[in-house]
Amino acid sequence: MKKILTVLTVVLAMACGSSIAQQAAAATYSNSPGASYSGGFRSGAPLGRALSAVAQASAQGTIHTVTEGQSIQRAVEKAQPGDTVRVMPGTYRETVFIDKDNIRLSGVIEQGRWPILEGDGQLHDAILYSGNGVVVENFTITHYKGNGIMGQAGNNFEIRNNIIIDTGVYGIFPQLGKNGLIEHNILSGIEDAAIYVGMSDNIHVSHNEVFENVAGIEIENSRHAIVENNYVHHNTGGILAFISPGLPIKTTYDVIIRNNFIINNNLANFGAPGSTVSGVPAGTGILLNAADQVVIENNIISNNKTAGILISDHANAAYMTLDPDVEPNSDQVMILNNLMTNNGYDTTDQVRAVMTAYSKNGNPDIIRVGASKDSCIINRHRYITAGVDDFAQCDFGNTANIASYLLKEPAPARVISKSEQGKYAYLGICSGCHSYKGRLIGPPVEVIQAMYMNNPQGLADYIAKPIKKRKDYPDMPPQDYLRPAVRLAVANYLLTLSK
């Protein structure tokens, strides 16, 4: 019953759309660039300058060189924030994980010889990072089961100049990160999205070549992202902007897709059953699903057999599970000038049905199903479309004022003062065994204060390596996992407690 209702709603929406269409069809022809889009985010990043997302490499950093036969991970373990791990050409079979900040993992390419990370179809991910300020560059990555490069909540990252071939689920997958640059990579043979930006903010994806993947580039549950100057060809679907269901961050908005070549994306879908991309029809140039405020500008979109641009919603996508907390429509879509030719020449039955419902003929460049509030387009007369006749005329013609949504300075770490550090550590750890007055597990704070009143360093040293002092109390476990500065801060804090 519910399904029938949905279909009816769609048909009704289509019917209303076509009556407005008659008026809109007489619309404006525009060759002038017009006003510039102001975007949804002011990054302050300057126009006409090389982009970067990490702080300048510090001159003091140590370089740890790894040669074939050695372990990259050992070098990462030795590296301190600010250091570079330099990997010489050769083959390396390992998972490299970076759980610290400001590490540059940099391959060296010599006369065509690259450092190759080889997963042998057994290893899970090639490179995992959770630290901030991580750079990964100049690697060939192949035959991993999971991802090529995966970020988990690392901010301020740069992933560039990598070749990622025939490896796992995603090629480059920064997740839950802020301020990241993905540029000059080549990715092919990925069974989901080659470049998958998930639940992230302020991202720039440019100058990548992605081909023969299920999805070329996917911006998902993310905000303030620009995808530009990429060569996206021979995938199942070229560039996707989605809200995927079942994730803790529920929006995608403020995305600019511009100046890309999106060509011949007709590869048969080889996505894993149940994955969100497994339902992407082969031959889709750009696919929007539930994403809002997406600008599509100056792309060359050609020879995609289903449609050049497909705008959909969750209700019309069988591959989307239900998420009651997601707004499921693609609203505020903005289609500026694009070169579109020879799309939709061998389209799906579903798209044909939409064309029929709108009484349209020919091979579709642009198709819209489901509601799409407050969307706009310019020069709509150039394309064969269904479902966009009721879009307004955009009152701007370009996005030239926006160089990037990267932050002007790297996203700052939250700063906690030294004295506050002591309080956090005392309450987070010490207070389980010590209270000011009275016995919990260890002696009361006032007793400790009497012993160490003028000797915070002595107390800081003691907690790192406690020795038994009182027969009537259990042994204190060493708190050596706290950094020396934090141990001193907690000692200082404890000695000043008065209640």
């Binding site: 373990e77 991910d125 999971g146 969100t276 209270s435 919990l440």
Partner: protein, 405 residues
């Protein structure tokens, strides 16, 4: 901590029984602590404010999910210390149940990871319920409650078992009558809700006060200093090399555990259809289908936190898996392998076929055991104001063999 052993010690138990035979209890016996529990600092307004080492980090959109160094979701804190301590007495007092035999702790026992060691919990009169009791650790950070996510606050959640005729089987009228008639509770409530407090009442104890006190206690159960946490904050020696390998499998995109069990809470607080089997002979539980009124959510359940997971066997919403090894193995047996014939489930897209080896499953279990931290376990009161035995009748630890297939 010494108190918590009381119930396990037969000699003390006998002494306590003797003591209970000689009412009335002295008023001085019950005094609410003015100190905040561990992890909390008392501010100028006498409210307990939580401090955690994760407060030094941020997270995208402040969602409280991420990687090793991400902030936590918004928390519930700011209760008076007396409210928290009053909640502790209520939590362990069987006066809350209609039959005066069950307390909250009967299904959420501190020695059993604030769960009950059973696949499905036991309610009033020994009735076996349909779902497993979730842990209460870190409830402060949750934004929905029950396996089917049907309530959004602790206050609403606790009224579920309190008044369910199969669970604690009380009624608001009986609860109010018994608390107000008690020799100690009215004075304790007056101390916890002094004049000027939002919930202060001139005369009798109110339901809102009872709900708030229990919620205050539940919000105080903080577990964030496991060996994993020490690794996360930068002390990499805190985990063994096997455990680190397990962590890398856990967060890999092959196993994808961390895609839903996201740090730092090890849940992303979503509902997900994953298609786990029910115990033999039990019909399919439709879960959040009922909450949201959509068949597309048939079999959806809340993603539980994995903190202290080592102590809350058996696993899944109806306890089908006796061990952690069985629970992790479920995920590698194939997408939808346990969905009953004739049932269609809209499985979550992260449920796939990772083909993990036996060794990899063992390493995952090793890693999960690094999420254990019970350092802030509160003491079980040696006596509660009703004079009943604290905790009430604790369901015996269930024989797990029946689920082991």
């Amino acid at each position: 901590m010494a108190d918590s052993k009381t119930m396990l010690n037969p000699v003390l138990k006998a002494l306590l029984l003797l003591f209970l035979l000689a009412p009335p209890l002295s008023a001085a016996q019950f005094q609410l602590s003015g100190q905040c529990p561990p992890g909390f600092d008392k501010n100028e307004q006498d409210r307990c404010i939580l401090y955690t080492l994760y407060d030094q980090y941020d997270s995208i959109e402040n969602a409280g999910v991420g990687g090793l160094t991400s902030s936590l979701p918004p928390r519930r804190d700011g209760f008076r210390p007396e409210q928290i301590d009053l909640g502790r007495y209520l939590f362990f007092d069987p006066i809350l149940s209609g039959s005066r035999t069950l307390s909250c702790a009967s299904c959420h026992h501190p020695s059993l990871g604030f769960s009950d060691g059973r696949g499905r919990s036991v309610g009033t009169g020994g009735i076996v319920l349909s779902r497993s009791a979730p842990t209460l650790w870190n409830s402060s950070f949750l934004n929905s409650f029950f396996w089917d996510a049907r309530e959004k606050t602790l206050e609403l959640q606790l009224q579920g078992p309190l008044y369910d005729p199969r669970e604690m089987a009380n009624s608001p009228a009986q609860l109010l009558a018994s608390v107000n008639a008690n020799a100690h509770y009215p004075a304790l409530f007056a101390a916890a809700f002094p004049d000027g407090d939002r919930l202060a009442s001139a005369g009798a104890v109110t339901l809102a006060q009872i709900y708030r006190a229990i919620s205050a206690f539940e919000s105080s159960l903080i577990s964030l200093n496991s060996r994993y946490d020490r690794y996360a904050h930068g002390f990499h020696q805190a985990l063994t090399s096997r455990e680190i390998k397990g962590l890398n499998i856990f967060r890999s995109f092959v196993a994808r555990c961390a895609e839903c069990h996201q740090p730092p809470l090890f849940t992303n607080q979503q509902i997900a259809v994953i298609g786990t089997p029910e115990p033999e002979g039990m019909p399919l539980d439709v879960g959040a289908q009922t909450t949201y009124g959509s068949a597309r959510l048939k079999g959806a359940f809340k993603v539980p936190s994995l903190r202290n997971i080592e102590h809350t066997a058996p696993y899944m919403h109806s306890g089908r898996f006796a061990t952690l090894r069985d629970a992790v193995e479920f995920y590698t047996k194939g997408r939808g392998h346990a969905v009953p014939a004739g049932v269609t489930l809209d499985l979550h897209w992260h449920i796939n076929e990772p083909n993990l080896s036996d060794l990899e499953l063992d390493l995952l279990v090793d890693f999960l055991k690094t999420l254990t931290d019970e350092q802030f376990t509160p003491a079980i009161p040696s006596a509660v104001p009703s004079g009943l035995e604290p905790v009430g009748i604790l369901p015996e630890r269930a024989g797990l063999e029946q689920y082991n297939n």
